[in-house]
Symmetry: C2
Subunit: 281 residues, 2 copies
């Protein structure tokens, strides 16, 4: 694939980090972003070879692969508006954190001579913008490819190659439904918990007393409200199921405390301890 | 105080780390622990100067300060059983994670010529035993002194000196009620959340997909069930209040998702983001 040329659409933190990693891996990388300054920055830093702040058929024709690093709805709208300008047989992929809604939406309108293959890098930072690009965020991270029954081997292989080029720690495949269930639990539910804990009280006067527990549990409570509200609602049913499942456990633990039921409480803690051990790095 | 001699009762991880830090700071440190092997280990490692696995009036007479590093109920029972052997005017302090119950309990029976001053090092590790002693766990941690109206300046000063000798990052004073409210929120509630999240499902098959969020939120889900069930129940009312307060926020966020109420959802996230910024290290 190293002969292929890759276009990044959306040059934020993730798009910039992809561009940096792929350029370093030897690919020719271009970018489209509505912010001219982001393109200029990335060219100056040699993160991309070229780029532009508008969409044109001539520019799109340069590329074999397009990676969309946009919010889900912006991605879908971009594709609706500009797919007629894309060169036939271009492979499209992305970084989007929800897949079922996205894939079903794209399937309704995508051109027959284009193919979209879903991918999700489980990596990020609590900062924004191409200026914070950092290809090292992928080193300890997981990369998930979400093919459907319609995906071709060629497209799946492109997604794998991107994952390998960016040096992800693990590269795995999941169905779009499995992906969204997993993300609902591991990522969205955890953000809901962190936000709820952080909004319990104006705890700023407690800064001096916090140990690592509270800090760890609320690290992700600094949250991009535009992106996450969109992600939550596009995975609404699954997220609500995960929230209910958490509520059952939390209420259950609460009941053991109310009832001074030490044995049940200890059993819950033993299960927790046993399961957590699998996650030790 | 460097002329004073300090006795550690209970030579586990915390007792051992205290002993190591205080020995390094120049104090003469002894220890009592029921495990002869812990005493031997600590003497060999020069963490303590001497120690014994039984309680005797002669040995207790050597010390000016006793630091109890025991579970709350074991601490109270120890004091009931052995306080008649302690030298008059000895200052007693501790590392216990709950204070209201403890102080009220001790006040009912403590000898008039002894004084207990509460202290709580907010530091720890997910490992046990004197073999894991590590005085560096205090460097980034908070140390809270919990005087009552009966506390003497002398006893408060002893507690401060221990905190300074162990190089805690911050040393503060709180009333026992403030302490337990704060601990109920920052420490006990967070452990309840982590345990509940960890017990939601047998998520061990998800290890390959976890980003840092789930790992961070469940780090403390590996939990010592004997200690934490005791701490939870000894701070039961406060902990239940904190759990209810969290439930209100979580249910509230859930409602915004159910109702597709994007604006309210974003407002919650904005509050969360704003408050979390105060906790950035």
């Amino acid at each position: 694939m190293q002969n292929k040329k890759i276009l990044i659409v959306g040059l934020g933190l993730l798009g910039g980090s992809y561009a940096e990693g792929l350029t370093d891996a030897g690919y020719e990388v271009g970018a489209i972003d509505i912010k001219e300054s982001s393109i200029e920055y990335a060219i100056n830093k040699k993160i991309i070879k070229h780029g532009q702040s508008f969409v044109s058929k001539d520019y799109l024709a340069l590329f074999d692969v397009i990676i969309f690093c946009l919010y889900p709805k912006v991605f879908v709208n971009w594709l609706k508006e500009y797919q007629h300008l894309i060169k036939p047989n271009t492979i499209l992929t992305d970084v989007t954190g929800i897949k079922t809604w996205l894939v079903k939406e794209i399937e309704t309108f995508i051109r027959k001579d284009l193919e979209y293959i879903g991918a999700h890098p489980m990596a990020g930072k609590e900062v924004y913008g191409v200026e914070n690009s950092d290809k090292s965020i992928f080193l300890n991270a997981n990369y998930i490819i979400t093919p459907t029954i319609n995906s071709t081997d060629k497209a799946i292989e492109v997604a794998y190659e991107i994952g390998r080029a960016l040096n992800f720690k693990t590269i795995t495949k999941l169905s779009i439904e499995e992906h969204d269930e997993m993300i609902g639990f591991l990522s969205q539910l955890t953000h809901c918990i962190a936000v709820s804990l952080m909004t319990c009280k104006d705890s700023t006067h407690l800064v001096d007393y916090t140990g690592d527990s509270f800090r760890d549990l609320t690290r992700i409570a600094k949250i991009n409200e535009d992106m996450w509200s969109e992600l939550f609602l596009l995975n609404k049913d699954e997220l609500l199921r995960q929230m209910d499942s958490f509520l059952v456990q939390f209420e259950n633990l609460k009941k053991t405390i109310e009832n001074n039921d030490v044995e049940s409480m200890k059993n819950i803690m033993r299960t927790s301890t046993k399961r957590r051990k699998y996650f030790d790095k």
